[in-house]
């Protein structure tokens, strides 16, 4: 009998174009997503070398990082941002790459629109010049971020030079308690592994608490896998996956659909497949999470306190913690719930999907954002925005005092006009709390959408479980 293989092994094996004697592999890339920030130099490289895009139809491009989230009819005010977006449009036209323009209803964050369009499919390899490409692993696709030189390599050859990753499995048993979301699972996992814990690995998430997640929740988990240093996250495709994909514009059409699903059913890891590393967690032990520092691993349950660096033996770790706390202007021992906030950001490729917005709407209906807080909601795509408006969620948000905006990356990294001012503190549903990430001197606390809503209403970090009672 053949050796049992993991989901990762199966995708890897089926994408092998060539293997050199030293183990270096050439793997085929099925799907390539492109955005304006990490692609200009790649297209320029092609031009200089007189190369073409090998398979334009396997590529999908969209501007997201630089787009304004207010009225777009006047274009982009910032000149450099505008040039970058125009450069993408021109490059796509010159090289025949499908392009979703800023004024197209399908426009949105690259990792939201790939799945939405059915561009993301199980068993495929998907890359993008963006670390959060790991998001697409939720579909059982091997999806990872690459640098601009590799973007150029994929455009020219539809392949990548790689070495196989190690296999890690994280099994989450049991069921999530009320108020605990996919975001809390992944934050708790990163807290456990550390930001370098997954280095060199592809992490497969499994167990009942994972299988129980919607596609949106699975995308949230895989999205942040990169924050644990892993190359990619993976979740085996199942009925939930197929139901999400069926009928999407770029998903296989009737006639081919059945064959595709039959193939996708063969992808999950074989019984008895082995992993280089195994980690187990019980969902029942996890509380809503919140970060206190400047690395996603700096996480505590909402009922917790700011940790004390004095209790840490490792000198470098202690120094890093002290620096984090100084940057965050926080004191050891403070209850997380006593931390006041100025801004709330709900959106990003981590939590900018329709389910996230529904979760927020369900909590804030009939309530008001605290006077001291500016709270913005940025849908992940034009289609998410339309869907939310059809369901009347925008009215709930506006009535509660939220600022409802146009889709894009927005204050996740503050490349457009949306940003924190120095010293401002934000409860954010995005994925990175690095120094300056949301604006120079800005302080970020990563939370779930429900926790962000609770913070908006309370004016400080608050426990979503108390709000929903």
């Amino acid at each position: 009998m053949a050796q049992p293989r993991t989901l990762f092994d199966k995708i890897w094996d089926s994408h092998l174009v060539d293997r050199q004697d030293d183990g270096t592999c050439l793997i085929y890339v099925d799907r390539h997503l492109v955005h304006e920030v990490t692609s200009p130099q790649a297209f320029e490289g092609l031009r200089l070398a007189g190369r073409k895009v090998r398979r334009p139809e396997a590529t999908l491009a969209v501007p997201d990082h630089n787009v304004p989230t207010t009225d777009r009819s006047q274009g982009i005010a910032d000149e450099e941002s505008r040039i970058q977006v125009e450069t993408l449009a021109r490059n796509c036209a010159d090289f025949g790459v499908p392009y979703v323009a800023m004024d197209d209803v399908r426009q949105g964050i690259v990792h939201i629109i790939g799945p939405e369009q059915g561009f993301t499919l199980p068993g495929t390899t998907i890359v993008c010049g963006d670390s959060h490409t790991s998001t697409h692993g939720a579909f059982g696709a091997l999806a990872f971020g690459i640098g601009t030189s590799e973007v150029e390599h994929v455009l020219a050859t539809q392949t990548l030079i790689q070495k196989p990753a190690k296999n890690m499995r994280i099994t989450v048993s049991g069921t999530r308690p009320p108020g605990v979301t996919a975001k809390d699972l992944i934050l708790a996992i990163i807290g456990r592994l550390g930001t370098a814990g997954g280095t060199g690995h592809v992490i497969e998430f499994s167990g009942p608490a994972i299988a129980d997640l919607s596609m949106e929740g699975r995308m949230t988990v895989c999205n942040m896998t990169i924050e644990a240093g892993a190359r990619a996250g993976l979740i085996a495709p199942d009925e939930t996956t197929f139901a999400y994909l069926q009928g999407r514009p770029m998903a296989p059409k009737a006639g081919r659909w059945e064959a595709a699903v039959a193939h996708w059913r063969t992808l999950p890891s074989d019984p008895g497949a082995t992993y280089d590393t195994e980690v187990r967690l019980a969902a029942g032990d996890i509380e809503p999470q919140v970060t206190w520092g400047t690395s996603p691993e700096d996480v505590v349950p909402v009922s917790g306190h700011i940790p004390d660096p004095a209790a840490v033996a490792d000198v470098a770790k202690r120094a890093a913690m002290e620096q984090s706390l100084a940057y965050m202007d926080l004191k050891p021992g403070t209850a997380m719930r006593d931390v006041r906030i100025d801004k709330v950001f709900i959106g990003s490729c981590t939590n900018g999907r329709i389910e996230d917005l529904r979760e927020v709407a369900a909590l804030v209906g009939g309530r008001k954002v605290a006077d001291s807080v500016h709270a913005m909601i940025v849908p992940g795509s034009g289609l998410v925005k339309n869907q939310a408006e059809e369901e009347g969620l925008d009215k709930v948000f506006r009535a509660a005092g939220f600022d409802w905006r146009e889709p894009g990356c927005s204050m996740c990294l503050a490349m457009n006009a949306d940003r924190l001012e120095p010293g401002e503190r934000c409860a954010s549903t995005s994925n990175r709390n690095f120094e300056g990430r949301q604006g120079r001197g800005g302080r970020t606390h990563l939370v779930s959408p429900g926790m962000a809503a609770a913070a908006a209403i309370a004016g400080h970090i608050a426990d979503v479980r108390e709000l929903s009672q």
């Binding site: 130099q41 499919l121 690459i146 030189s149 690395s295």
Partner: protein, 203 residues
């Protein structure tokens, strides 16, 4: 890509863990459509205050380290975003080699595409080099890629490991795309196989 063979240069100490790519080059410098000229944004928030005035103490701005070509850093260097602007900025500032106990995967990869050699050494050995690097202009370190050796100012030599293929490409300044295009027949054969096995993947 420029070849990397042997380098003797000043090593600058940056004893921080988890130096993320947002820190190496913040977002406002990502709006460029070029690969060059990014040195001005390197470690920007550590070097300049809010009004854009230089801060006094950043290591690469000290006279002794102005011409540093090697950076010695803490664990998990280059974590976070995939932005290749990070190695571009380092290169633009003259850094050709980074030594750390560990690197984030994407950043590590990106270095090789730009003729930068990232060297992983056990933490104790990085600590020794960090001490050497504290010696200012006397912190001259020699890196020999062919021999896979790095030696400090006192001549003590450490061996480092590196993937054979990557070493070969760096030593010869090879262009990956050109190499892969030599395998065009294999790619075509693969595409034909795949088209019959999973026809739904093409439109």
């Amino acid at each position: 890509m420029e070849k990397f063979t042997k380098l003797s240069g000043v090593a600058a100490p940056l004893p921080l863990v988890n130096v993320d790519t947002d820190k190496i080059i913040p977002k406002q410098f990502l709006k460029t459509i070029k690969r060059t000229g990014l040195a001005k944004g390197l470690f920007y928030e550590m070097r300049f205050d809010e009004s854009g005035k230089p801060k006094p103490n950043f290591v690469l701005d000290q006279p002794a380290y102005k011409n540093a070509e090697i950076l010695v850093a803490g664990e998990n260097f280059g974590c976070g975003s995939s932005r290749e602007h990070a190695p571009w900025a380092l290169l633009d500032a003259g850094i050709r080699c980074i030594v750390a106990p560990s690197f984030a995967d994407i950043f590590y990869n990106n270095c090789f595409k730009n003729g930068i050699l990232p060297i992983v050494l056990p933490k104790e050995q990085v600590d020794l080099l960090m001490d050497d690097a504290q010696r200012g202009a006397n912190a001259v370190v020699t890196v020999d890629l062919e021999k896979q050796e790095i030696s400090g100012p006192d001549g003590d030599t450490l061996r480092f490991e590196i993937d054979a293929f990557r070493k070969h490409c760096l030593l010869n300044g090879l262009d990956d795309i050109g190499l892969t295009q030599q395998k065009a027949e294999k790619i075509e054969a693969y595409e034909a196989r795949r088209q019959s096995a999973e026809p739904w993947l093409s439109a």
